[in-house]
């Protein structure tokens, strides 16, 4: 059986790092904070690997099925009979896999940051935030309760906010962190309402019970949830769609993706950790967690997931081809790849061979985490060297940054799906799953795959080939610094090794939709077309960008409308700004404030003023003239007498 203490320590050690460095870091660990955090996380990583080994090879499998184990559960907040937030640990294939991925990538980023962030004023704070993020992400992964996942969901959101805004004196970073938080927050409301709906019908918040109750066709809960409907759509579908909106927000799915490119304002290692490898796949993880409910009880919601994923993948790939900031290119590429994972889930079915999409999605999540982290860390090394994010400042860097160059190339090959690198295997599985279930999505995915290799190699050739730009070396003597030393190169090499070899893991053995071993079948014939398409993309990119020439401009001019639209990210940001500024601010908030100040408060003040006015009027009766009083008295007396005598007898 799993060792609860060890598993609990995996998230708690980063938390300890956060608390120690956050409270005492500035005073006592000014220089050693990086070492402390890295050491703690190393222990976490080892524990995660140990747990994974134990789960997959020792106790996890019972009768050929990987068990969902809940070794720890503690009632944290009881809402009503049966409905409570439990703080628990769930151990099943996807959570164990994610534990390894998150701790490993986080460890790489911790090590890398020792070099990258060296000399920064707020070094301890940086590591404290990284610790907070790692804790929250690990907590999210092992959540056994849908509300627990929401809690950690918000916590990763806030740590992402803190890390994006790390360079807080840069106004663009401040704007970006706000945007990221608010957009994901908006999506989280959907998630929250989804939780409310699901918990109401299933009368539990516990994942295991919830999935069980909502997938058993005979259960009353499922019948009620399907029977209740709003706008012609069943309550269950509503709930799942709303939960998916939460996931889409965090995973930067169209149209909630606008925060992700801006989030690149954070330090590059942070982008690698949060906005490429781990946090942004939380949405995929969430859908995967609830996958049985999606696929068995509400196929409509699942197909929505598929289409949103496919659209996001395509749009992001198109936009990525036109961006010039290398981190933004990578950001759009991330969005595109997450789109892959999403539609892989969307086209999947529950159980057996039909569940290939599920396995493929998780597989891609795994490999993508490795090669995308590698890409970002490589980009970080370049930025560290050049002090610019713009492609136009780069070129010919292969001579100066040899290790970075090689590892970056490996990552690019991996993401383009060139065999035998990791991306090839996972992508091939995804395409196969799409081909079997939904042809439309398959074609979208195929086009996207070609675009992916094009923009990745556009990036690669622009950075490492072509003419060296002397202007970029003017700033300071970074040649001396070289590639940033051992601590920055070690993660690159380790990740490159992973990107090259991870594809050979027989993933279906470990992770499948019904947790029964799925044999990987390799379809050589099927994989020809995507690989060929990928290679075509690489060749076009080589032709256009390897040497300095004017082909890109020509090409851009040729397809000017599309190019311009893609360069401006299809104007989605502008639409958002229109909605928030014009509609929410000017049409709702401003009139509300005006209404409050003038109407509501005006009414209160008018009451006061009115009282004053009336009393001013009334007080003149008190004229001080005694005869007036006497006359009033007599008139009043007579009237009263008349009233009493003749009216109220």
């Amino acid at each position: 059986m799993p060792n609860v203490t060890y598993i609990a320590l995996i998230p708690l050690l980063p938390l300890a790092a956060f608390l120690i460095l956050g409270i005492f870091g500035r005073k006592y660990f000014k220089n050693t904070s990086g070492i402390i955090a890295t050491a703690l996380l190393l222990i976490s990583t080892l524990l995660a690997v140990y747990t994974a080994y134990g789960y997959f090879f020792e106790y996890g499998k019972v009768d050929g099925i990987y068990q969902k184990l809940i070794p720890l559960k503690y009632t944290w907040l009881q809402f009503s009979e049966g409905v409570s937030i439990d703080m628990g640990i769930i151990i099943d294939p996807i959570s164990v896999m994610m534990l390894v991925v998150v701790t490993f990538i986080s460890l790489m980023v911790h090590i890398y940051s020792l070099g990258y962030m060296k000399g920064d004023d707020r070094f301890p704070t940086y590591y404290a935030f990284l610790g907070l993020f790692t804790f929250s992400m690990l907590g999210l992964i092992i959540s056994s309760n849908i509300f627990q996942i929401y809690i950690f969901w918000e916590l990763v959101g806030v740590s992402s906010f803190l890390l994006i805004g790390y360079y807080y004196d840069k106004p663009s970073a401040v704007a970006a962190c706000k945007k990221a938080f608010i957009v994901t927050r908006f999506a989280d409301v959907g998630f929250l309402i989804g939780i409310l709906i699901l918990s109401f019908y299933s009368n539990t918040l516990d994942f295991n019970k919830l999935i069980e109750r909502l997938t058993t066709p005979e259960s009353n809960e499922l019948k009620n949830a399907v029977a209740a409907s709003f706008l012609g759509i069943s309550a269950l579908t509503w709930g799942l769609v709303l939960v998916f909106i939460g996931g889409a927000g965090k995973s930067a799915m169209f149209p909630l993706h606008i925060w992700l490119p801006d989030a690149m304002e954070g330090p590059t290692p942070v982008s690698a950790l949060i906005h490429a490898a781990t946090m942004v796949v939380a949405g995929v993880f969430l859908v995967a967690r609830l996958f049985p409910v999606f696929s068995i009880s509400s196929p409509n919601a699942l197909s929505l997931v598929g289409y949103v994923g496919a659209i996001s993948a395509l749009i992001a790939a198109v936009i990525a081809c036109t961006q010039t900031d290398i981190k933004r290119v990578l950001a759009y590429s991330t969005m595109s790849q997450i789109g892959y994972m999403m539609f892989a889930l969307g086209v999947s079915k529950y159980g057996g061979e039909d569940g290939l999409g599920y396995t493929a999605s998780m597989f891609h999540l795994f490999t993508h985490a490795i090669f995308k982290a590698l890409l970002f860390l490589g980009a970080g090394a370049v930025i560290h060297y050049i002090h610019s994010n713009e492609m136009k400042d780069m070129g010919g860097l292969r001579k100066y940054l040899p290790i970075t160059h090689i590892t970056f190339l490996i990552a690019c090959l991996a993401i383009s799906g060139v065999p035998p690198f990791a991306g090839f295997f996972s992508k091939e599985e995804i395409l196969l799953a799409a081909y079997q279930n939904n042809k439309t999505i398959y074609w979208v995915a195929l086009i996207t795959s070609g675009l992916t290799s094009f923009y990745m190699f556009r990036l690669y050739f622009s950075i490492f080939w072509g003419r060296t730009r002397p202007s970029s070396f003017k700033r300071d003597c970074d040649e001396v610094k070289g590639e940033g030393g051992f601590v920055m190169m070690l993660p690159l090499v380790l990740l490159a090794f992973g990107a090259a070899t991870a594809g050979f893991i027989p993933f279906g053995h470990f992770i499948s939709s019904d947790r029964i071993t799925l044999e990987n079948k390799f379809h050589l014939m099927f994989s020809i077309s995507p690989v060929a398409l990928g290679l075509t993309g690489i060749i076009i990119a080589m032709w256009m960008y390897k040497k300095e020439n004017n082909k890109p401009e020509k090409f851009a001019a040729m397809s000017s409308g599309l190019y311009k639209a893609a360069y401006h990210k299809f104007y989605i940001d502008e639409i958002y700004i229109f909605i928030t500024q014009k509609i929410i601010f000017n049409l709702i908030a401003r009139p509300t404030a005006w209404f409050d100040k003038n109407i509501v408060d005006g009414m209160i003040n008018a009451t006061g003023e009115g009282t004053k006015e009336i009393s001013e009027k009334i007080k003149t009766f008190q004229s001080g003239k005694i005869q007036q009083y006497a006359i009033c008295f007599l008139v009043g007396l007579i009237s009263l007498a008349l009233l009493f005598i003749y009216v109220w007898k």
């Binding site: 003239k625 005869q627 006497a630």
Partner: protein, 103 residues
């Protein structure tokens, strides 16, 4: 017809309203005081009349008349003291001029 209760009540009522009229129209404080005396007298007359014609077995009306007379005397004394004091401060005993106690 032998004058009786109603006749006297008529006298006292008329006297009362003469007093009221005087109180309303006079501006001199002393004359207003005189109107009040008329009103008081009409009340006294009522007391005595009722005592005589309605409850001849009691003397309550008579006693009240005595008390009213006593109180009227005291009241007149106090009122005149006030009037004289007012005259000292205002050089006038016109009621229109004594209207500080307002608002």
């Amino acid at each position: 017809m032998q004058p009786g209760l109603y006749h006297i009540l008529f006298i006292s009522t008329v006297l009362f309203f003469i007093g009221v009229f005087g109180f309303f129209t006079r501006r001199n404080l002393v004359t207003m005081l005189m109107s009040i005396e008329l009103i008081l007298n009409s009340v006294n007359l009522n007391f005595i009349t009722f005592n005589k014609y309605v409850w001849p077995n009691k003397l309550d009306g008579l006693f009240f008349t005595i008390f009213v007379i006593a109180i009227a005397a005291a009241e007149a004394a106090v009122a005149i003291a006030i009037i004289i004091n007012l005259y000292r401060t205002h050089q006038s005993i016109d009621v229109e001029n004594a209207e500080e106690m307002k608002f």
